[in-house]
């Protein structure tokens, strides 16, 4: 993947199909049945709309009813112990009767989990998995996975990829945000060499019950997390309120080095003027430099040489972009479409302390090796300032991403590196029903 101007290691997060357009205009009931491949009903299976608070379990006959908002495509997920997670996209007004046929998980997967458990692989991989999946924010630090023994790991030495599997939903209690998150993990890959992570999962949020100060703390934390979230950005984009909400977008551009072109022109002119005499000498360049030094002075020559050593094009940031420069709104969807790479900066706050440390450690380990070898301890270094959080994003194959009113995106084509690559994890995830007012 072409990624110009990458200042640091990137973490790639593929964003999931988030299709719960939660307009409250009208509610409808979704009916369905869950059965195994033999047609036998599965009772007690978890049925939910991904990334929402809407969920239920099937009854004795495998039937379920979901009360859902009446419009927008919905991602209905069924998860059950020992079966592969199933998902169906339901268009508005459609699918009054859904049918899910659940396949048992393969024996191979069961073996992985059993082996993993007996080898206590959690001890070895749990930390890396948690950092990649739950995150390293202060909120992630207060998340607990209730059933880590259900997660199996497989490490491929040749590719250096860590795979994680779960045959039951992973249960995460987020004590800082007040959510119990049920996660159906479909796929999880951690590229240990680059620290990139690629995963697919579905989430059901349940609000924890709390009173007084505890509830107030959750509400406060949700606001803080929301401010920095990708959801905040996509909603601001949808509403055309980038400036009001504090987001600045710029594009990375390749621009011609105008000064180099000017200097080249001077050289060309001088060459043309003295072509005859220059032809007589073998080292044209040295002779031309001498002519230029006589004509423009030695200081100018020094400067011209420096300019000529520069690259022909350089990467520059564009002016601030407006919503309509990168997207188009029609029919309750805003299509985000852009070339090259965008940089999104949240101007209203500084990056969190943990990210600041992460960012600078990464920078130190990869770019400032020279400093380290000089044996200067980090405390002696002048620490760079805390910045506004910024993220670079690009589209794979230039496929536009559709953003719904609630900020949800409809496909996985938006990739990002930088702040949101680090931040957008379970520890800081909010359901799409969440609004701060």
């Amino acid at each position: 993947m072409q990624k110009p101007c990458q200042p640091m290691k990137t973490i790639l997060v593929a964003f999931l199909l988030l299709m719960s357009c939660l307009r409250v205009a009208a509610q409808q009931n979704l009916y369905g049945r869950v059965a195994d491949t033999d047609g036998a009903p599965l009772a007690g299976a978890t049925v939910f709309i991904s990334e929402s608070k809407i969920g239920t379990v099937t009854d004795d006959k495998g039937n379920f009813v979901l009360r859902v908002p009446g419009s927008g495509n919905l991602k209905v997920v069924v998860s059950f112990i020992g079966y592969e997670t199933q998902m169906q996209t339901v268009a508005p007004g459609m699918g009054a009767n859904l049918s899910f046929v659940m396949k048992p998980v393969s024996n191979q997967l069961k073996d992985v989990i059993i082996t993993s458990r007996s080898n206590d692989n959690w001890k070895r991989w749990g930390e890396a998995f948690t950092a990649a999946f739950i995150g390293s924010s202060e909120y992630a630090a207060h998340c607990t996975i209730a059933n880590p023994q259900e997660i199996g790991f497989e490490f491929d030495k040749s590719t250096q990829i860590l795979h994680a599997y779960a045959s039951v939903p992973i249960m995460v209690q987020n004590e800082d945000l007040g959510y119990l998150v049920t996660i159906a993990l479909v796929d999880f890959k951690l590229y240990t060499s680059s620290n990139d992570v690629d995963y697919q999962a579905y989430y059901l949020f349940n609000e924890m019950k709390g009173k007084g100060e505890r509830q107030a703390r959750w509400e406060e934390n949700r606001r803080k997390v929301y401010a920095l979230s990708l959801m905040h950005f996509t909603r601001a984009l949808y509403d055309g309120r980038l400036k009001e909400e504090g987001f600045e977008i710029r594009r990375f551009m390749q621009v011609d080095n105008k000064e180099k072109q000017r200097v080249k022109k001077i050289y060309d002119q001088q060459y043309a003027l003295h072509a005859d005499s220059l032809k007589k000498v073998s080292d044209h360049m040295a002779a031309l430099n001498k002519i230029i030094a006589n004509r423009f002075g030695k200081d100018s020559l020094r400067y011209y040489k420096k300019v000529l050593a520069e690259k022909d094009t350089e990467i520059k940031m564009s002016e601030l972009l407006k919503v309509d420069d990168i997207s188009e709104k029609k029919d309750k969807v805003r299509a985000l479409s852009f070339k090259n790479q965008l940089q999104v900066v949240y101007k209203k706050n500084k990056e969190p302390e943990e990210y600041y440390k992460f960012r600078n450690n990464t920078a130190l380990s990869t770019e400032n090796i020279a400093v380290r070898t000089n044996d200067i301890s980090t405390s002696q270094l002048v620490m760079p300032p805390r910045l506004n959080p910024y993220t670079e994003m690009w589209l794979t194959n230039s496929i536009p991403v559709n953003i719904k009113e609630n900020g949800a995106m409809d496909n996985t084509n938006l990739y990002m590196s930088g702040f949101w690559g680090w931040w957008e994890k379970i520890g800081t995830k909010l359901p799409y029903e969440y609004y701060p007012d």
Partner: protein, 812 residues
Amino acid sequence: MPSAKILLPVAVLMLALSCAFMVIDDPGDKITALLTRYANKFPQQKVHLHLDRNYAAAGDTLNFKAYVVMAENHRLSDTSKILYIDLLDADNGYSTTLNYQIEAGTASGTIEIPDSLKNGNYTLRAYTNWMKNFGEEFFYHAVLKVGNASDNITVAQKQTGNKEDQLYFFAEGGKLVDQLVSVVGFKAIDKQGKGIAVSGSVTDESGKSIASFRSAYAGMGRFSFKPEAGHQYSAVVKFSNGIEKKIPLPQIAESGYVLTANNEDRNEIRATVNYHGKAAGQSVLLVTQANHKVINTTQVNLVNNKATVALKRRDFPTGIAQLTLFDMAAEPLAERLVFINRNDQLRLQLSAPQTTTATNRKLTLKVSDALLNPVNAKFSVAVLDQTLNSDSLNMPSIMADLLLTSDLKGAIENPDRYFKDRSPETALLLDNLMLTQGWRRFNWKDMLAGKDPQLLYPAEKSQSVSGTLLSKKDVPISNGKVMLVSRSDSAFTLNAVTDDKGRFTFDLPLLFEQQLFNLIGADDKGNSDGKITLDNKILAWPETIHRLTASDDQLKKYITANQQLFNNRSKQLKEVVIKAKQPTVTEKALASSNNLNGAGNADQVLTFQDLINCHDLEMCLQGKLTGVSFKSVIDNNSNSYKSVPFAAGGMGKPMLIVLDGVPVASSFSRLNNIPVATIQTIEVLRGGAKLVAYGMQASGGALIITTKNGTVDYNAGIEPLRNNKPVPGLMLLRYNGYHKAREFYNPPANAQGKQNIRMAGTVYWKADLRSNDDGQATIEFKAPANVKKVAIVIEGLSAEGKTGYLYQTQAF
């Protein structure tokens, strides 16, 4: 539209164009266009004052900070440069107007309460010239309770027109219709216009009870019932003071629409339209707007004479939303106000006070937005001595004022009650208020008829003098020359040429306090036998709005707590009275001096009268002080020369400057730092026994400077205008420039020496506190040892128009 009808069949491609033509036919677009036009043509301003107190003793000084904002977004407005503040008492016929310079939407200053003022409830109102176009209802109003120690402290309650308690009914949406269950809001008020608790029942003409009701807060409440045409309903009411009454309910219409709004859901407001009548109800139009902006227009198609529209709360800003129902001919049918709180105002947090010295307190203010991001915003801070007072101040906060009361008709009692919490109970009280108080910014009839308010008062960009030049026979002189000559010490002349109506305008430079001008007018041939008339800028309107008054307790406690000081003042005045029946201006001026040797006991006394036409205090005093010489010394603060006074025989030490009883540190002491216009008296102590009271630091002599506090008529010494006999073509004008504020003296943290003797009350005032990019600001003040409890009131506004308010009491 015939043109549209011709175009339509021509080509489908023209459809878009024809839609544009049809705008006029669509009632929604018509209303939107009218509202947008009105909002653009008549941008509304709002003024909020943060006053340090709403009670004062005669002779006190009040501090204020004014926030002048645009109503559409509550951002600070830069369109007007002059703020007017009136202090009025209609009962006593008292009225005074002060003007202040508005800079970038804020103004701050002081309001001196003359000590001749009688006890009373005074109205304080603030406005800009532009706001006068829309009437007094839109001004900022506060009731100021003034007590005079020599008067009886009890302040008489103002009487409204009401002879007795009243109860008013307000049907939701505007009217009651046969067979349609309706909510009825009610409000009971007593003779003073204050809410009074009531309970009662609704009966029909046969006396059969239909519904019962009980007020919930401030005399307001609601009940619902199903009215039937042909019945006469009335309410049997019992007021909390025991009085019983029978009050008829509004008439029941036989047919019509009823608009109800349910504002209980967190995400949406459900507006329901019901119709009853012989024929089926027609489609109607629901227009919602907030801050003069149309939020949406929805065509409502009734099914079985009923329809519900869900309005997304997130589409509205925090504040009052106006829901209006129109028929398809754009005639309004019903209206309902709802308050939408997006919970998005600034959050203010104050740290626990640190005690840096025995009396020094330091607090940190943290400001954040709704998402807990740090916010850089402007604030004003008042710290009040609450040692004896436990009541809250009961002044509407900037939030309640800008978001609620400024858009509602009539007075709102204790508006901050409605922002106390986010409970359903509070929301219901607020909704009761919405049912019973009308929207006031415009009236639909005029708006839809395209009838505009008359614009008589432009937004003032600078101080100005305008008028008309007339001939002897009162004919306007066009192309005439008018010259303005300033007679004050900032001498300048301005010239203007009259237009075809004989009118002229002078934009004045920045001027403070009273200025004397000569205006000379002549026609284009130089004949100057005409006369000049000036536009009357003083608002002569009577006070038409009655505002609710707070209890007397606050004022009583304040006066009692300060009885000692008031007595001293009266005593000083009395002593003067004994010496001479008519105290001279000098004696009056000296009465408030803190000279430790006794007021006026000095080698030389100067008063404000000696300082008229004086701007540079150092220069002025060099010619006026006897036995004092001045030396030029480099001032480290300004890096320029300053003149420092040395008394003859002062052994080479500079004289000590004592400002309002507080010795000023020599590094700060520069005479020119004291605005001349604020000085009431200067007492010169050159040597000898008089210096003993001030100790070693005064060994070089002392200048005791007392600033103005409203105890004297400062115009008394100015030569009377000799305009008894009008001189043709010449006019003498006494022009009031911006009122110069007396700086609230917040003693520096390390101030030594005797505490300033100030009226207890305001311990600290700061009009211009700013939070930094991290959302933090430091508040540091001195709390004298006898102050055991303070109330800290902080108000402010962010650049985005979000209000900030904090009221906190703190015991020491």
